[in-house]
Symmetry: D2
Subunit: 305 residues, 4 copies
């Protein structure tokens, strides 16, 4: 058995050296090291790699790191929530700002500033979003009329990526590299509210949320091996592991999460629970790291960049 | 200022007596008492009451308690995830079983048992689900052809409620009492997998997820006051508070959650963060109770039954 | 296997009825029900019952409930931290007050108010504590000189109980009923600071913290069976389970805790980890309930009162 | 205001570069960056630095990193629990081993293996501990008889450090560099059980736990500025911040913790609560990082080594 021991550290230690040493530190440091090894296996075995993430990852500076992974085709399929789409789009024009967890929220509301943890988003970002989405929805609507069929969430997002020129954008690289972004809850968030406003005028405009399922199923079924890196919980996590039931489960999985197990929530469920569901296969190589992805994910991923 | 003090308890103490005494106990006991007071205000002021819940609530015995609230028209609008729909439906035929958090998941997988925390769901429940959904989807498809438009998630769920005869079912009472169930992520979960299978044969069948938005917006905009009871996080929570931006925020809100704030996730965000977003109005009366809803919710709600 | 199902609730439902029904609700409701059953076994099998608690339990209204248990000799040994002793003592004279988690702590500091979560403790409580402790320490010092040996923490606390007349006090009933209170970290907290001040003048005054060990060991070794109800973590929890190694582990254990397992902390460790240490015996009947004790403990205990 | 943005990462990125970039990432990454800045201020302003840690830090590979800090006199005062002393001592002879969170604890118990999260400690480590402590206690007892006074916990630990030759040991460097280790709960843990066994034969042997208070008070009162780095909670944390009330609070504080605030526990309390207590002064520069110290602490500290 391996021994627990710390490592010598100094100003010049590389992240990859620390991550290697973490194997022997114990607790979550060891779990983090294991996550890296699982991702190594994913890549060695040429698994189709799913990246699942909640929108707060995009609110944070992980956005640019995810974009880098999409640019480098490190991942093959993205699954996320509506908030990720709208926030990546907003950030192509204006940044989010560094705030504080302890801000006075009434004051912020009066000043027109919205808070996501310690990140601030001034209201003008949402004006900007509306300005971008309304003409875009018109194009989509014209397309709907022409094609005589409703668009799917993935198509919508793919088309949206064409509108973007920001090289730090997830949407930009996803469209460029034809990496699909699945979003089963597309009408949520500000994206949903803008759809609501658009439909006040264009009642016939719609989105067929079932239209992506064949494509998603195909990705799962045609793969020799599948792997997933799952940041946070929510519908993105459930969709990612759920669709892999079609093939008796993911071969390789990494969860990075702050969720708790004790309430039976899917967001907090550990990989071993997913084994019972055939969402992860029995021989499944999986790792679970508990902690905030803004710290964990850069450590886990930087050795692959 | 009020004093902190315990109360005398005995075998015959009623829940409502304990909940009253909790005001003075401090920590989450006090928060729980506050939640009750906020709900009292909701009802006194005739707010339109939104009930948001994640699917694990339906996995648990809270299902029957939620059904009771829908039966008694205590709530006006339900917002939830796909899992809730499928699990309520399964339970109309076969129960979920009491298991253990520490079960051997590989063994369970071999036995065809799926685990949700300490709740077990044998595979036959999903066979049963398929048997129910396939003919149901056919009816919907016939309707789509006849009406020349795609169904919305809320319509789908409303129609599904007509198929149910179980008086302990949320779907049953929602349809009976015309209380809409919004489900912005309808293609997730086993429901989604069944949609996938159905579409293998009936490619034209679809669901227009935008078709519910006008109705949802109307509920929010036409209300004099709105209130929300939010169990857990996820897309259901975000959708509930997000749509209330249309009216500058909810008037009364209760969160019961295990989520953490430190990762900036929406699931863990506290009510005060929602104030910055105008999801809860500045004068908002809100309460936050941290803990598992299977314990907290029965305590909070039983005084209203 | 038992079925998961909710129960009918109304205004008049008794706590004990709810707790019974919780068995079938799942998640932590089921765990709570199990905790009650373990305590039933403790009592049926006449186990020596250890009650371990952190000082925040005494800050809250659980103080009076714990006092009730000591009064009724429901528990045989108490193990806690220094804060519990000082706070029970303060409360014999002046209550703690109901405050808010979101208070402005700089403002509170200026006003001379100390915050424990949503409980406020004005500075005068600590003046009062000093006024009580200084003459008390003098008595103890006289006793030390007379007996030519240092007092132990348990003796100190026993003597302190004699000074108390408040029938809601844990100290009062512990002394009255000769139920020992072990406090391995007696110099912590305000109690410690007062000891520090006293020793400025009376340098020879001391406390022999090892002097309690024989007595504690005896309680563990002479018992036919031992059981423990453990509220929270910290040194009180560790001491309680650690000393039971002497007899190959506790026979019955209930943990009520908010701690997390993932960091390897003793405070967050689950009962099963204690089995590996022979802190809980292999046949150990144990239950773990995750959540705030201000809500959980009254539910668990009221059926025994 | 600063913008939220990610940073380019690759295989060769240094930890210190990542930590710098974390300022702009948001959520806990930003908090971690802030922790580093607070420690920079501590050192720039020549604060007396307290390092507080729970024993699981010593169970893990943080032991060697803490030893390195003590060796380099980066910290001036250590405050910890009994488990840290015994585990550092054990590790001078035999390592702890890398295990698994999901191990079968009954099996482990049969094999004589004790589990701390995912760290395994075979029973022979405790035989070894006994072999080391018994002769050591005899020396202390001889000293007690000669000096006609009981030893204090800090003296005991200082003397124990003299027995150690392992350059990776915290005890070794603490004694070598005359950095005091305060341990207000010295009779807890295996150390306590060994004291219990020793006292079966040598009843007169004792430890005066009050004897350290003057020394601890002096460190706080004579300092121009004080700072604290606090890993985890428990008695070590409370003792560290509590004693700083003597000087109206710490000037600089960093908490790294997994504790939760909602239960009013001291372990989970945030720095701002300590401001209300004058445990941290009002102008206090403090940072709170939520997460497992095995990941967070190496990142925070490596720029100072």
């Amino acid at each position: 058995m391996k021994e627990i021991k710390g490592m010598k550290l100094n100003k010049n230690t590389k992240i990859t050296e620390l991550v290697k040493g973490m194997e022997n530190i114990g607790f979550q440091a060891t779990q983090l090291n294991r996550a890296v090894k699982i991702i190594e296996k994913m890549k060695e075995n040429k698994a189709v790699v799913f990246l699942s993430f909640t929108s707060n990852m995009v609110s944070s500076g992980l956005r640019e790191i995810i974009a880098q992974l999409v640019k480098e085709k490190f991942v093959d399929v993205l699954i996320t929530s509506a908030g990720s789409i709208e926030e990546d789009l907003i950030k192509t024009e204006k940044p989010f700002l560094l705030g504080s967890f302890d801000a006075d929220d009434k004051e912020l509301d009066k000043k027109g500033v919205n808070r996501i943890g310690n990140i601030f988003v001034p209201d003008d970002r949402y004006t900007l979003l509306e300005d971008k989405l309304m003409p875009f929805f018109k194009k989509l609507y014209a397309r709907q009329i022409k094609n005589k069929r409703l668009i799917s969430p993935t198509e919508l997002i793919f088309e949206l990526g064409k509108e973007v020129e920001d090289k730090n954008s997830i949407l930009y690289w996803a469209t460029k590299n034809k990496i699909p972004i699945f979003c089963p809850g597309i009408t949520d968030g500000a994206l949903g509210l803008n759809l609501y406003f658009f439909k006040q005028k264009f009642k016939e405009f719609g989105i067929d949320v079932t239209a992506d399922m064949e494509n998603l199923g195909k990705r799962v079924l045609e793969a020799d091996k599948t792997g997933a890196i799952i940041l946070g919980g929510g519908i993105a996590k459930h969709h990612t592991i759920g669709v892999n039931i079609l093939r008796d489960g993911l071969d390789y999985v990494v969860y990075i999460s702050t969720g708790t197990e004790y309430d039976g929530s899917l967001s907090g469920a550990r990989p071993k629970e997913a084994v019972s569901w055939s969402k992860i296969n029995e021989e499944g190589n999986y790792a679970y790291v508990e902690g905030d992805a803004t710290i964990i994910f850069p450590l886990v991923i930087c050795g692959f960049l």
